[in-house]
Structures are given as C-alpha cells and as structure tokens.
C-alpha cells in the first residue's frame, strides 16, 4: 500500500516527536478499570500488566467476563465513561502514556497507530453505510483524500483481504456479506492506515471452524507482511496455540500468568491455567473424563480477597484467602505467575 | 389519536426492541420485574407520581374521605366567589363548593381513563396476541383492521363516533376511547409476541408437547406484558386528558356529571376573571396525566435493561 502524505497538524508533529521508537510498542502497567453499576463498583480490570514487543503476537486469554475486552477498549481509549472509569495505571505507547494525551492526540493514535477488530463484525459495521464508505472514511478523514481516491483505496483494501470482485462489492452494505467476509472487511478497516499495533478482540469466535482457519490465516499473513504487533484476545486455547508468541492469562481482571506460549501449555504455573488446559477436550485425543473447575467465576463487584481464584483452587491454602493478592512471581525469564504455590503447580 | 397518545405510539420502536431484549437475549431479563421493582422504589419520580396517583384514586374511590360537602348543594348567590375559609377552591358559577366538585370530579375522569385502558389492554392485547401467535391470515386480517382503525385521526374519529351514538356518558366515551385506542396496544403486543414466540423456552415447552393455550398464557403472555404495561400506563394518562379535550369539543361528558374535563371546559372562559376556577381542575388533571406518563416512563426505564 502506498501512503499519501499524511495531513500533519503541529500537534500531531509534537506528538510524533515524543515517541521513543526504542521503547516497546505497548506497555500496560497496573491498569485498573471500574464500572459504576446499580449494585456497586464492578472491578473489571484490577492491575493489568503486560508488555507487547515489536512484531509480537500476544494472546490475552481468559473466561468470559475476565476483563479482556475492557482492557482492549481501555488501550484504544473507547471505553464508555461513564460508566467505566480508569482508576489507575499507565498505557505506554512507545513510551508515551496514552492516558495523559489530549483528546485530540488520543484520537489520532486510533487507527493510525493502534487499530482494533471486534468480535461481532455484523454489529460492528454500520448497517446503513456501504462497506466502501466506511473504509474510505478513514482515508478521507485521516489522510484528507478525495471521495474517489478513497474509494480506490477501499477497493484495494478489499482486494488485500481477498474479497472476490472487490470493485462491485465495495458498494454493498455489510448485511450483504457473509460472516467471514464481514470479519475480513473489519480486518481491512483496521489495517487501512497501517497501524503498528492491532488488537483483535475474539476475531473468530462467531465463525465456523473452516472460516476461522481462513480468517486466522489471513490475519497472521498480514501481520507478518506489515510487521505489526498483535494483541489477540480469545478464550480459545486452540487458536492461541496456533498463532501466539506469548500469553497473558487473565482471571478476574488480573493477569495470573504471563509466559511464552510453549511454556504455558507444557508446564502451566498457575492452577487456573492448569485447570483450564485439563478441562478442554481435544480433537486429537480421545480423552477420559474431563477435569472440572468447580464453582463459578467471581462476581466483579465482590471479588474474593487475597487470590481471586482461591475458592475454586485445589492448591489454595489459608494465605491465599487473605489480602494481599499474590504478587507476580518470576517463574522464569519472561515468565511470571501470580500464585504463591506456583512451584507445586508447575511440578504436579 | 393525533394530539393525545402519540407518546405511546411513536415510542413504539423503542418498546418493541426492548421487548425482544426483555424477553430474550440478556441474562438480566430474568430478573426483569424484581430488578425493576428495586429500581423503581429508589426512583423519586416514580415514588412521587405513584403517591399522587394514590391520592387521586382515593378521591375517586372515597370522595367522602376528602370532603363532607355535597357538590350539588349550591347557593346561587355565591356564584364565582373566590377561595375562602371552608371553601378552599371557591365557588363555581352556580355557587357550588368547587373543592368538593373537584374531589367528585376525579371519579368520572378516572373511571373513563381506567375503563378505557382496561378495554384497550383486553381487546388490543387479545387481538395482538392472536395475530402475533397464529400469524398467517389471522395476522393479515387483524393487521388490516388495526390499520383501518389506526387511520382514523383520534379527535375526528371521536367526534364521528360520539356524534353518532349521541349519548355521551362514561360508558360511551370509554367505548370510543377503546375503539380508537386499542390499536396501539395490539401492535405492541403483536410485536412482543412475535419476538417471544420463537424464543427457545417456548420451543422447549412445545417440544414437551404443550398446547397453544398453555404456550400463549404461560410462556408468551407473561413475557410480552412488560411493554404493554408501559404503554397502558401512558395511555391511561392520555385518556384522562382526552376526556377533557372531548368535553372541550362538545362531545364529552354531559352535566350534571362532574368531571375535571367539564370543570375545565366550563370555566376556561373565566380564567381572567376567576382564574382559580380554571387553575384548580387543570392542575389536578395535569398532575394526574403527568404522573401516569412519568410512571410509564419510569417503568419503561426500569423494564428495559438498555435504558439503564
């Protein structure tokens, strides 16, 4: 893709000059997000930490409600506030704390530097505008292109994500596409301005396995081509195993284990990760009875003290049940686990 | 119903979507009513309007509680005397105590409104239920009939109906309001039933072998009732106002009935000379209409998870 000269305002220039290109593309430090609800404050994210390095694919894994999407939206700066409130933490993009930027600068980071793909492409695309309009809009608003030029760009993008007959389909509405194609349109939209970082929030959960394979294949291909860093949010351990470099496992809004992908599957260091791995059936093995994680995920307005996982944990001892929550123990280089008993876990 | 119930009809898209939402998708649905109740008692608007309605209803049901004067006991020489000791609202044209008039006037106004609301809920609800549930030609016919009645402008329609029946009493006015008002409920009900009828739990009951009646009454109706309740509350308010407007147009209740509508219409011309004659009944009326509408709004917000 050729890039036209971006329209740069002085403030953009100032922002660009702040960036430290030697710093990792993204670093999240001790992020806390709360939601104000009728039944109290819901602590959706409680001290999220991770570092995304250049060209890396980092998977954020966790059950429904563990705060994956909220984290992603916090990074994008598109949380609805109210009710959401970031109470703590830093989100460093190339060393610059996004939370401290002006609204205008923050807006420019989106799509230009960090882009995002959503889970449900049908509702994430505006039903009343053509796909071409929605793609072209990016070029018109961020690059100041003409209608025609932006349409040509849109067609180019559709071609890039392998949508057949892109020239015609650019005038279609989202509902006229199949699920897989819609998700590819979303990918095209996210990649349009060649961001450095792409956040994909469960990009294939709504798709069939065969289509999922297509889309995931396309995504990793494009990631490689554009040398992007990718945050892949999912709860499918299979998908992660196929594409991720490193994994952050979340439980109740907190990373409980952060490790390179191979280590986690081979020797999980946190009881939650371990239980998760044991409880999933595998297509390549006719397993015996599945292991079960007893109990339920915590209610976010009332997270158990100490280790949030302790009520469901078979390793839990008394010190897990009282504050403070377990710190991130260094298990290995690049590897941490938030469990007092990670050694036992890793060895069992 | 041009001037009067558009609040109900036009908010419908929102309602319908809420019904589909309410009936299905979210996990929050389930607790719909109990959650709603919790939310409602904490909502000052809801509490105040319910209290107001309670007061007004008690006037209608037990006027004796509020006044021991006979509103028909008039001294013509007291005509249009301003409020004074023992007669807080003053006297009307014929020298009757205006306060007791206002108290007794609540009954016809509310009877009409409540009667008409019950009517539209029964008729509109039943027809909407049948249309939505059976679909096919039943739906086609009912929908066309709805279209026909819907196309009559409310006030003009009421003028035509009431001039035809000639007799303008609580019953006929209620009937006319029902005839012109049931369609909104029918449409909302139909929409709610349509979205409820293919829900999984209805299919589950079907696969157990449940009959149509059981499915309608036990599974569909309770879950379609929320949007209807909201609409009915708002319609109730509109009907209180409608009674007054019909009286203004000369096709409303006839004396010696005493309704707020009559009181307002009779005395609107004196509003410079004896403003209290207009202000008291109008305030009572607007308060009631307002309370019902706000109550409906609060209900809608409480019942629709999306509005939270």
């Amino acid at each position: 893709m050729t890039t036209e000269a971006p329209v740069k305002s002085p403030s953009t220039a100032r922002f660009l000059s702040q960036l430290d290109m030697t710093a990792p593309p993204l670093e999240v430090r001790n992020l806390h997000v709360e939601f104000h609800t009728t039944s109290g404050e819901a602590h959706a994210v409680n001290g999220m930490n991770f570092v995304l390095s250049q060209g890396e694919t980092r998977a954020i894994l966790g059950e429904s409600g563990s705060g994956k999407s909220v984290t992603a939206q916090a990074i994008m700066g598109i949380l609805d506030s109210p009710p959401a409130k970031i109470t703590h933490g830093e989100i460093l993009y190339r060393g610059v704390d996004l939370l401290k930027l002006s609204d205008e600068d923050r807006r420019r980071v989106r799509a230009n530097h960090i882009a995002m793909i959503f889970q449900d492409a049908l509702s994430a695309l505006n039903p009343v505008f053509t796909v071409g309009f929605q793609l072209g809009e990016l070029f018109r608003k961020h690059r100041g292109m003409s209608r025609q030029a932006s349409k040509a760009k849109a067609i180019e993008l559709l071609d890039m994500v392998k949508i057949p007959a892109a020239k015609q389909r650019v005038n279609d509405f989202p509902h006229q596409f199949s699920g897989g194609m819609r998700q590819r349109v979303m990918i095209a939209m996210a990649l349009a301005l060649e961001p450095e970082i792409l956040i994909a929030d469960e990009p294939t959960t709504a798709l069939d396995v065969t289509v999922q394979a297509q889309v995931m294949g396309l995504l990793s291909e494009l990631q490689r081509e554009h040398n992007m860093s990718l945050i892949l949010i999912t709860h499918d351990m299979g998908v992660v195993a196929d594409v991720a470099d490193s994994i952050s496992v979340m439980y109740a809004g907190r990373v409980v284990e952060d490790a390179p992908v191979a280590d986690i599957y081979a020797r999980p260091a946190h009881p939650y990760t371990k239980a998760l791995l044991e409880s999933i059936p595998r297509v390549d093995l006719k397993g015996q009875e599945l292991a079960v994680i007893k109990g339920l995920p915590p209610v976010l307005t009332n997270i158990p003290p100490g280790c949030a996982f302790h009520p469901r944990c078979r390793y839990a001892k008394d010190n897990c049940k009282v504050p403070p929550e377990p710190p991130h123990y260094d298990v290995d280089v690049n590897r941490v686990a938030a469990c007092h008993y990670w050694r036992e876990v890793i060895e069992s | 119903m041009s001037d009067l119930i558009p609040s109900a009809t036009s908010d419908e898209p929102a309602l319908q979507s809420s019904s589909s939402e309410g009936a299905g998708a979210t996990g929050g649905t389930a607790s719909l009513w109990s959650d709603a109740r919790k939310q409602l008692i904490r909502n000052p608007i809801f509490v105040i309007s319910s209290l107001y309605i309670l007061v007004v209803s008690s006037m209608a049901l037990f006027p004796g509680l509020w006044t021991d004067q006979d509103p028909r006991n008039c001294i013509i020489s007291q005509s249009r005397k301003p409020p004074q000791d023992g007669h807080p609202f003053g006297f009307n044209i014929l020298g009757c105590d205006y306060y007791s008039h206002a108290i007794y006037g609540a009954q016809p106004s509310l009877s009409i409104a409540i009667g008409a609301t019950v009517g539209i809920v029964l008729i509109g609800g039943t027809l909407g239920l049948l249309a939505g549930f059976y679909g096919g030609w039943v739906d086609t016919i009912i929908s066309r009939v709805v279209d026909i009645f819907l196309s009559l402008p409310f006030l003009l329609g009421a003028l035509v109906f009431l001039t035809v029946v000639k007799v303008q009493n609580i019953l006929t006015i209620t009937m006319v309001l029902v005839i012109l008002g049931w369609t909104t409920i029918a449409r909302v009900m139909r929409g709610a039933v349509l979205s409820a009828k293919n829900l999984d739990y209805v299919l589950a009951a079907r696969s157990l072998g449940a009959g149509n009646l059981r499915i309608m009454l036990r599974h569909i109706l309770p879950n379609a009732i929320a949007p209807v309740t909201v609409l009915a509350t708002i319609a109730l308010g509109s009907f209180v106002a409608a009674e007054a407007t019909l009286t203004f147009l000369g096709v409303g209740l006839q004396p010696p009935e005493e309704s707020w509508g009559i009181m307002i219409t009779d005395h609107q011309v004196y509003f410079l000379e004896a403003p209290w004659l207009l202000i008291f009944p109008t305030t009572l009326l607007i308060g009631t209409v307002l309370s019902f509408i706000l109550m409906g709004d609060a209900l809608r917000d409480a019942l629709d998870p999306k509005m939270r």
Binding site: Q73 | S7, L152, L278, D297, K306
Partner: protein
Amino acid sequence: MGRYVIRRVLQFIPTVLGTMFLLHYLTSLGIQLTGNPVRALFGDRTPTPAMMAALSERLNLNDPCLTQTGNPCIGLFGERLVNIAQWDFGISLTGQREVTDIIGAALPYTIRIALIGFVFEAFVGILAGVLAGLRSGGFLDYFVKISTTLIIAVPIFVLGIVIREFVAVKFGNQLRADPNFPEIISRGFLAAGYKPDYPWASLFIPGLVLGATSLAVTARLTRTSMVENVRADYVRTARAKGLMPRRITGVHTLRNSLIPVVTSLGVDLGVLMGGAVVTETIFNVPGIGRVAAQSARTGDASVVIGIVTLAALIFLVANLLVDILYAVLDPRIRYE
C-alpha cells in the same frame, strides 16, 4: 424494492376501503339512530313535509335503508364509492355546497398550519432529542424529559387558549402599542388567530401549538433512539477509527437514530393534518379540522365523512410513504 413497494400499495387498498366503509357505516348508523339531520336545519320551526322531502332528496338522505337501524346500507356505500371515484363527496347540509369545494377551500390552511407545526416539530424535536440523548442522565436530559412530559400532559386546548390569551393578545398588545415595532411581528406573528392579511405569519403560533405534542414525542423518540445507538457496536467502531466526535455523532449515530424518528415524523405529518381540530378552533384557522368539528356538531354527515376520509387517506398515504422511506433509509430492509 419495487416488489416491496407494490406489495405495500396493494395492502393499502383494503385498508382504504375498510376505513371508508367504517365511516360510511357510522354515519349511516348515526342517521338511523337519530333521524334525518335535515330536521335540525329548521330549528324550532317545524318544516313542511314537502320541504323536508325536497331537501332530503337533494342531500341524498332519502335512501330507505337510512330508516332501518343497523342496516349497513351496502347499496348506498357502493353509490358513494362510485361517486368518490368521480371525486364527488356529496353536498353539505348547511349551505349545500359541494363537499369537495368545502374541503378544497379548507385544505390549504390545514396544509400550511401542519407544515409549520411539522417543521417546528422536526427541527426543535430532533435537536432537543439529540442533545438529551448525547448526555443521557445529564441536566439537559432531565430538562427535555420534564418539559416534554409536561407538554404531553397539558390538554392541547388549555395550552392553546393560554397561549392565545397571554402571548397573542396580552403580550401582542404591548408590542402593538409601540408603533415602531415591525408590524409583521406585532400584527402578523402575534395575531390572535388566523388573519387573512398575514396568511403565513398569523399561522405561526397556531402551528407551534399544533406541533407541540408531536414535538414532545419526537424529542423523546429521538432521545431514546440516540441513547440506544450511542452504545452501539458500530459507534464504538467509529471511535476506534479515530473519527472526530462530531462526525461520530453527526454521521454514524444520528443517521441510524433518525431512522425511527424520520418514519415517525412521516406519520406525524398525516396526524397533524387530521389532528388540527382543537388548534384550528381556538385560533380560528379555516382549515378542515375546524370545519369538521363544526360539521360534526351540526350532524353534517357528508362533510364529516369527506374530511375524515381525506384525513384517513392522508394518514394512510403518509404511512405508505413512510414504509417506503424506511426501506430507503435502512438498507437491511431495502434488499430483503
């Protein structure tokens, strides 16, 4: 799309016929129940049978079915349909004018006042709704909510009379006392009712009163729709695309939020045309609403039937157009 339009148009026919039959039956029943309305023309002087007969014949009230209570008078309905197809709605009781003439003369006024009301309703209503919806739960939201509820709660005739007496007469007189004040405002916009010298300006206040209720409804509907849409996934996408807040609201949120609003506005135009009964009476606008109210009271069946048929037709056509408009605005329907 074309198919969709044709289907809607075809559905329209039975509805129109049904509406007309309903009206026909009602008026026939009215005559059957209460007797020949011609009698009332003579007031307290009893007319001779010859006079009654002559007038009844002229007014087409001599069909024997009109004396049989409950008879639906199908024959008469057929005649009526044939006549209506030839644009003949009969003649009025008082004055014995062609109903089409009466409606033709009155309609322009109603169209004017409805248009004023409509423009007012659309602009102010949508604006208020959008502002309230964007900051739901904020001060403006409460303000819009309370004021619209209040407007809905006040019977329109009370509102109309209060505005006529206090704004047009009292306040207007103060302005009129000042000879330097522009007449178009003091005598036009603030006229006490319709005034032939100011055919548009003097309809301004009546138009506002007429549009008030619908305005409240539009504002509320817009608000609801906005609130629903500001949290929509595609709005989130628009934000993720780094668009300006103004564009997110103005293009992505508004466009979707306005779909139900625009359709309800379309129906409103029909409602306004038929709903001007009270407003036209209070502000002495010689439109169809005022004529209908008067005719209904004098039992002038053919005028009432003509006007209500017209109003119903306008309403149905508005509905039809709205459905088509809906399909135009929402591609999901268009391509079904």
